[in-house]
Symmetry: D2
Subunit: 455 residues, 4 copies
């Protein structure tokens, strides 16, 4: 997963990119970068491993001059997590200097790479963004929009891309629209961003989603091209964005993520109306709104049962067993007198490997929880994602390899309830239309071809 942001025709463009990336930080904590461009020719890039707030101090932002800037936060969906693969990716080619920031996953990357190698291309990186760069360099078009449209026509899979090409800021989404990309406006500037909350944070106004397949070209504060691919696909938006990935204050599919989650909680409460419980306890922070919806629907009291320690980050790379044991309970602290002796509905967003949930249940048991009814605001995750969400292989997905009873036993819970798939879709839809979602991780139906599964 990644987050991307672009702004054009703005004084201090890099500062707005910084604000946008801070807002999108939850989409990728591994590396961050900003490229700015003033004169249409020379680009300035600063990127590094780490968090946005650590990487970009004001002194550095002041060096990223220019009225156009794009930024990127990265959480690798592949194995190689190095600075080399940090974005934006800047390259020089027949079309001049180009910068690109990419969110998604190309599913025919290896196939294209082999063809490129045959024609003499060299590769310095392992990210699939380099493939995009090569395709741009080898494509021709009468306009910048046509060039980008042709460049991405070979790509399969999921991609939302923001380019700087000369003086232009360009946004693209794949024909299925798997990954989000929105258009905003602020004074005389257009903004492109992964989520509406980043537009808000930069002081802008959300205009509309970039459409599936759309190529939108912005220059001097105007949309100068707006074109679509020759092939037209039915939209398949990743429903996991609402379930887990996006910020609650973002708006997806004309519905705030927060409201979708409250609704998921309400549906869960309906599914579990026979469960007698004393309190609803969310796993912070993603379970909070589902828990609120559950509480409202069921009348069972919502309680904050955990303190989350925000100071505990990814500080221990490969800690020893000893260290793991000592620090096991540092991230989530139970509030004992909330939990002790209670029948609890525990709400989390999703169940992937099951290992974290097992630890959380143990923490509740240790402080005296009487019953634990575990409710997930999505269906069982049974298939891996090839479109950019970092889910593990199928054999690591607990719902793919264990029965619900076995999972119940593994987790040591009194009951286990998944939101059913129709309820999930209804909760996420604004208008009752539930056809436009990619639910591949829940139903195994992949809308587009997966040519290269190993990437």
């Amino acid at each position: 997963m990644c987050g991307i942001f672009g702004i054009e025709n703005a004084e201090n463009a890099s500062m707005f990119a910084f604000v946008g990336l801070l807002t999108l930080q939850h989409r990728g904590e591994e590396s961050a970068g900003i490229t700015s461009n003033n004169d249409g020719i020379n680009y300035i890039t600063h990127k590094s491993m780490g968090l946005v707030s650590q990487i970009f101090k004001e002194k550095i932002l002041n060096t990223l001059t220019g009225k156009t800037a794009i930024g990127h936060v990265r959480y690798s969906t592949h194995s190689e997590s190095t600075l080399l693969n940090a974005q934006p990716f800047v390259f020089n080619c027949i079309h001049g200097n180009i910068a690109v920031a990419h969110n998604g996953n190309i599913t025919n990357c290896e196939t294209i790479k082999k063809e490129l190698a045959q024609s003499g291309s060299i590769f310095n990186h392992t990210s699939d963004t380099e493939i995009v760069a090569h395709l741009v360099a080898k494509s021709r078009g009468f306009s910048a929009g046509e060039l980008i449209k042709k460049s991405v026509s070979r790509l399969e899979g999921a991609y939302s891309l923001i380019f700087i090409v000369g003086n232009k800021l360009i946004g693209v989404r794949d024909p299925f629209g798997y990954r989000p990309l929105v258009l905003g406006q602020k004074d005389n500037s257009y903004i492109l961003a992964s989520e509406t909350s980043a537009v808000d944070a930069a002081g802008g106004t959300f205009i509309r989603n970039v459409n599936p397949g759309e190529v939108i070209v912005i220059e001097n504060g105007k949309i100068i091209e707006d074109i679509y691919p020759d092939r037209k696909e039915k939209e398949k938006f990743c429903i996991f964005e609402q379930v887990y990935f996006s910020r609650p204050d973002s708006v997806l599919c004309s519905k705030s993520v927060k409201n979708a989650r409250v609704q998921m909680g309400r549906y869960l409460a309906q599914q579990m109306k026979d469960i007698k419980a004393d309190i609803i306890v969310p796993v912070p922070d993603t379970g909070i709104f589902s828990a609120q919806g559950f509480s409202e629907e069921s009348g069972i009291k919502f309680q904050t049962g955990f303190i989350r320690n925000h100071y505990v980050g990814r500080s221990f790379i490969k800690p020893s067993q000893k260290m793991r044991e000592i620090t096991a309970r540092l991230k989530l602290f139970p509030i004992k007198d909330v939990i002790c002796g209670k029948k609890i509905v525990l709400i989390d967003d999703s169940l992937v490997r099951g290992t974290t949930a097992q630890k959380i249940v143990k923490i509740l048991r240790d402080v005296g929880a009487k019953e634990i009814h575990f409710a997930l605001s999505c269906p069982p995750v049974i298939s891996p994602c090839f479109y950019g969400i970092d889910t593990p292989n199928k054999d690591k997905l607990i719902s793919a390899v264990k029965s619900n009873d076995d999972i119940k036993e593994f987790l040591n819970v009194d009951s286990l309830t998944f939101l059913n798939i129709d309820n999930m879709k209804k909760a996420c839809s604004n208008d009752g239309n539930t056809e436009n979602f990619c639910c591949a991780c829940f139903d195994g139906i992949y809308p587009s071809k997966i040519t290269d599964t190993n990437n």
Copy 2:
């Protein structure tokens, strides 16, 4: 404010100190340090500016060998914030090597320092902990406990101290017991810590508070001395610990902080029973439990109205005006459809300068809040703290310089309600006894002498 932690007779003592400090990180984010001791003679110290999780990697903890360790997190209450003043403070003297970690503020520091200088002492630091070290070096006692008892007898003000003296771990609290210090146990080890949650996190069990004035000496897993000062004072525990400073999962005065805060919210609801509102919105994270209590008492719905961005830390040291404007709304994001068109009870823990509250109210107004009734779960702060809380001078305290009507106007709120002082005391007390609190910042009554006000 600071947080302190000590453990004795434990394998991997420094790892438990690390866990304790992570749990106490909210008490001081400026610097952190751990000193360990194995053989009663040589001490190993690692300390640095920054956060606990950044400073202590496993490789470093492995160098801090030994079965006794003390740790410290610091938020300076004085001007000089440098590594030089980071703790633990280790020194060599007639009694051998000694390490000390200090939470509090000595109010006759300058007077003692002048006397020490007369007798030929040298000073390398600006913290008042160095004064404690000098007093130890100049004192004599038949036992380690007597030595420490005599050493601290000259001190006025607030202090909770943890020492390593040779093979012994020693805890002390000032005779008024302003600052917390608790005793815990884990297997064959005793633990001393600022808060019970740190004992819990280390896997230990809370035993009791260290009493005001008590000097407790621990060696080889046993309490070998437990003595009291000759002068006996009435306990005056800092009530601001419950209002704001301590973790909600800690237990103070035999009552969980969370419960005290829920009760504050209930009393506030009673005080404000004539206010008609649609929702209760807390300022995260400290207002959450008061808001819960308010909601329970009033029946008005609790709503999460803000997303707090935990990625935005102290990244911009002295940012430019331009930068401040751009990043103004990064820390707290309003969830628009929760707020818009609503009559809101906004709950925060306390009002000090008023500048942050003014910004938060503006954020709510910007997204369409209809009415804002601002409720504080403590009385007006009208006097500075000399006992270790980092409150500003009186002329910066908004309640000391403005009338409530002027504050209401300044903040742009429809009503402004402070929890009254009796309700606050009742909420914090376990047994109805409301005499044992220091409420100097609310009532201006300082239990002990302030000899040197300028420190």
Copy 3:
């Protein structure tokens, strides 16, 4: 200028590369890097700005496992001095992973780059080594040697290259042999290096020079291919290597650099036999051996007149005027009682801009030198180098823009003598053959075409 080193079939190959680079450090102090390869597939690279001894600690060398390693030290001859351009340059292409280290300067770089861009190549770097990579990726050959031979056939200018291609270590020199590259042997390993001293330092034995145009392919301790280009050129070895650039303990053209320099000094003494002087003083360190030769030939006493401060490095990036004045005399300290009252023959290797020489003369005058006869062990530098030596543009070359009399006055010396070009060639030749040198910087005769002058 750069230095390159490669070793094959050696345990701890990267440690020998480290030793080689330390020995070649004088050829480039800007950045250094090592790439190692064990299995013919995966390469490990560490490179950084700075000095070899700062970049490579034993812990890092231990991560560079494998029996083949190449290394590079860089002093940029172009403007962009960034980590991006540090070498070895590693890329993936149709032939697998390839690493290359480059010493020299390609004179048709821009022309090739334009053609590559037309065919859709992308560029991430600004160094001409990336061009070499593209040519390799676009070439085909029945063997690794043929591949490299074809790849470099388009290149004009100066290049000595070391590649790792799969399991093979490959060395190449351009058809004119401008830049040095030697072959050494150590136990069952072959070594390729810029200078013989690096072979010696690694404990190996110098075998022979790699010949102009030669492509030499080494695998498993054997030379498996040894081929030559179709075009055959007359050797034109850069004579500046002997004059200034190479280490005195290296052997070039079958003659030790030290002996060449002693001989230059002897010829200078013959040219200056009418000058009456008390002492010969070299500018350390490059003038020492010429001064020795001059002293031997003339009978005038050699004296160490300067202490060079080896601690003063490139510490002040763009110092202020104030700082420049304060630190002006830090690098070379005169020994007053050697200099004062003496008629001095001052010997330096070459005169390029003249600004440093002017300062040195002033230092000698300040401590009382009576007469200064300035002798240069090479002719006037009148033309820029396009083959990899970092000489400035013609208008910055003092001998290109000023008469000898004007230079004498500018430097404030009593006489000024340049070694004449025939003497220089004779001094550098082992066998009296003086045809095989490139003396373009002295005579303006460029052996090969300079297609792109601006690179």
Copy 4:
């Protein structure tokens, strides 16, 4: 060993301190620091582990404002090499803020420390400079000079000290004058420095040595006090300064170090007049001037036989055996055609442990030296130094534990000659007076009491 520098009444005082420290870097490469003072009250200090040029960038020097500055470079003579012990040492006491930089070794340090501990002093450091600070804090005087005079009266051993006390710069030498300290002048500023070359580098003029026992107080460009201790001792200047430690361009005892060394070489030549050799080869850099003197006296040709690699620093902390073998020959490269087949007089400054000399001899043998006659420009080192030179314990001194024949065999040399002690003294004396040297390391006669031998 350490180097110290102070300047008063100078704009940019810290920049001159920087220049002075760069010049004195050879006296200590472990840590460096500068303290500046403008207003007589507040001092600014920057110190760090590492080399002067790495620690002090212009940006940092610009923060060290003020017209008075002192600086220090340190090579620890004790075991603890940490930043804690870096100097200048700054402390606050009854006399205000005081900074001190120290060169030497106090031989009754432990005794004084015990007394101080009895009186209640605390110690944060392990250096003996902290003892000096305590004595200053406990002393009283009618003037700054009297204060310092009394403070140092208890000290035994070797010390040259520079203080900042309020607005005053103060220099002191111990009554025997073991360690150098000179007075210089530059415009309206006085300079104090370990060596004259540092005065020269700062653009100043050498005035005279600070005398043994002298306390000199400088304020506003004037010497305002100049007092002497009550006890008067015969001067005993460390002769090792001329033999090895000081820069050749410094003047000690009215004689340039370079001239003293040339004379040592001449005497050595006289002692070895029966040796037949082809060339004189110095071990660089300290043997160069002795070799020159030897060559002049004997008529045997001086040759540069080694290239010293100045890039190889202390980069490998505790390298593995493998690494040590690989890098053994990196520091000194033999020039084979100078050495091969020759009878060589090899000249070094001194023989301490013998291990380095053994390696150098092996390098010469490996490249074909025919005979090696090893000449040392000082007598056998048979006793440790307690006055500040970092010689090892007696059992590590090769001349203390082996006969000359055994050493010859150990080193594998054809002959071994030490300069005899009278010749050494004569070479170092300007006026034939050879009484004023401390030669304890050569003759075991310690001029002053060694109360605490273990420090």
